[in-house]
Amino acid sequence: MIDGARRDHARFRQIIRGKIKQDLKKHITHTEMFGRKGKDVVSIPMPQIDIPRFRFGSNQGGVGQGDGNPGDPVGGQPGDDGQPGQGQEAGNQAGDHGLEVEFTLQELAEILGEELSLPKIEPRGAKTLKSKVDRYTSIASQGPHSLRHFKRTIKQAIQRQISTGTYDPDRPVIIPEKKDFRFRSWKSDVQQENSAVIIYMMDVSGSMGDEQKDIVRTEAFWINTWLRSQYKGVETRYIIHDATAKEVDEDTFFRTRESGGTLISSAYKLCEKIIEKDYPPSDWNIYPFHFSDGDNWSSEDTKLCIDLLKSSLLRKCNVFCYGQVDSRYGSGQFYKDLSEVFGKDDDSVILSRIENKEAVLGSIKDFLGKGK
């Protein structure tokens, strides 16, 4: 009976997965609705799916019980008939609650990948990351009793009895002693993996408002989700900049608001420094993402940025991504400048313009669709 329910449960999840894919745009832009459950699981709220039947409208009144005078509001939830506890017809009372479905980040990445037909990334660089996988393939003489290995224990006991001459073939009673016990135990496998780092840079000058930051946050969530599905170990670093740049943690990255001017080159310089210090390009897949509203202090600084990209940054990265989040104050000049230089043919730089929240899906496809 459990098998039946499990089979149906898998089917149900498959249907839910289909629904999420159908409405991917909606779900993608509402990552703030996702609940985080532990490290690798998110829960996504969805409207209840149910079988439509003729039924009465919900605002029809009824009979209740308790204190109160005519005109007083009714406490509780009338019409909500999810009486928990007992019942021989338990299945008939699903109630009107929304669904909350859990997905691992891996599953989310799969859905994203399938829907946007994202290509698998061909990693570069040597497999330097060592990851340890524990498998229960070994036997130990110490261990918890829940992992007791009966066969091996008995075998050990027989061996001991035969060697000490206490084994009687006519009356083969085998009683394991403490030192006979054997337990399942693990062996560590070391695997070599490709490693990757994502370096986020964001303009936090006054013109980047909450709406813009929200877009960046959503983009970052999906970029992380996708790249983590492609690489075993993914590190993330965060740089904020106005006229100067500094490295911060994730939380600060999305919260900080400065009022200074904007020198993009400062961020690029810091980014280069971080790569030089921690991430030798021969061992690492490097993904710098830069988000701004397209304003820069001067065209000289823009020129400096382009030089930095051309002379060193691009050679070290898998791909350099620039996302321009449109805002009321931003001129969008930086996007134009970059696209003049790097154009469409240059696939070491990916440029994307994000007009509003709805455009996030398209921009994710821009960034990740090249398979780099």
Binding site: A5, D8, F54, D67
Partner: protein, 496 residues
Amino acid sequence: MKSTALPLELAKIRDDIEGYAHQAGLDFFDVIFEMVPSDAINALAAQEGFPVRYPHWRFGMNYDQYSKGYEWGLQKIYEMVINTNPSYAYLMSSNSYVDQKTVMAHVYGHVDFFKNNIWFSKTNRKMLDAMANHAVRIRTYMDDYGQDTVENFIDICLSLDNLIDPSLPFSPEKKREVQGADETPRHLEVGKIKVDRSYMDTFINPPEFLAEQRKKAEDQSRQDKKFPDRPERDVMLFLLSFAPLETWQQEVLRMIRDEAYYFVPQMQTKIMNEGWASYWHSEIMTKKALTASEIIDFADHHAGILQMSPGRLNPYKIGIELFRDIEDRWNRGKFGKEYDQCEDFREKLYWNKNLGLGREKIFEVRKVCNDVTFIDQYLTPEFVDRYQLYTYEYNRRTGQHEIVDREFKSVKEKLLSQLTNQGQPNISVVDGNFNNRSELLLSHKHLGFDLDLKYARETMRSIFLIWKRPVHIQTTLEGRTRLYTYNEKHEFVAQD
């Protein structure tokens, strides 16, 4: 699979409880108790109590919700019992013994009810096998036609599974099985003017005249002949008989309909069934089975089961209290003309003729009533007063449900209208050849509650997908009679 038989100690307890139940006069099928872990209980509950069901996502959704509810400590299914002969009941292995005892006593109450209540008398007691057979057939169809195709069609059928006729199992004159369309045209010898002399016939009734008359008569009879000849409550049966379905689709629809009929009596007697079972677990536990050390736990759990929350009626509570009220009234003779006509409040309150008919009366009630007649006959003004029942309505202005009054008459009326037709809208097929274009006309008999239009639209779509011609429904919405149509362009439109 692990054995689900009861451990020795519980088997002994079971024997005791069964003995007490017999002594008390309960009359039940054999009950087979199985001891299962919580996830199996959740799985069984998800499948409406049956261990084998056809593959369908909704069982998976139920399972998802039950197991989460259990994990998060929001709900726990104590017991489940299936109406079959012998009856199967499941005990959750993690429950304490006092809970198991209570559940056993409760289960014997249910099974007595299943066996003796008249509304259960027509149900298939071999439903376990029937469900398993349905599962096999549907799996075969899935192999033949594809899981998606079959599952989508099941969804469509389920969407109609409340459009059946609860009185049908009790009306032998109604055709129970699928009817074939009666297509043989009647031989028409109409419109002929009577002629005494046969040689005059061709002059008085020339062929053109006859043909004309015959045509008139045919038109007339087509208008007269209603199809179906009287409104058909069993919409599923009507579709099964006349909708253009493939054989496998017919079979699926038939199986879903059979399963729907099986669950009807349980919906008709929710209050009584739970009330009766609670009454008996309380009797057996407090008078026989409890040990001193178990009393606190029992009282705690019993109170939990009967707990009322504001704005919601607990069928367990209403049921048990109404049975106790009836027992008390018949013990003291508080019924009949003399009592009803007595106007002295004090005298009525202390009325006692020591008749001792209570037990006998409640056994009779459990035999002949369903929830509607139970409330109709035995709800008293004193009861409404004692348990603080009220009616509420939705206030459009404040957006809240608000208490309207505590009058006995209106509480009873509201309660009855909620229970009528198991709380489902009363909908029949009126015309299978509406507008003479083989469109389907349904009619909603409005009994105080409006239909939910959003759901109506989706349900109409399901019917359209089966009937394959436009479907209409006549209903009353906010006091106006309206006709809604689901047409071939998949639009749902209102016509006034």
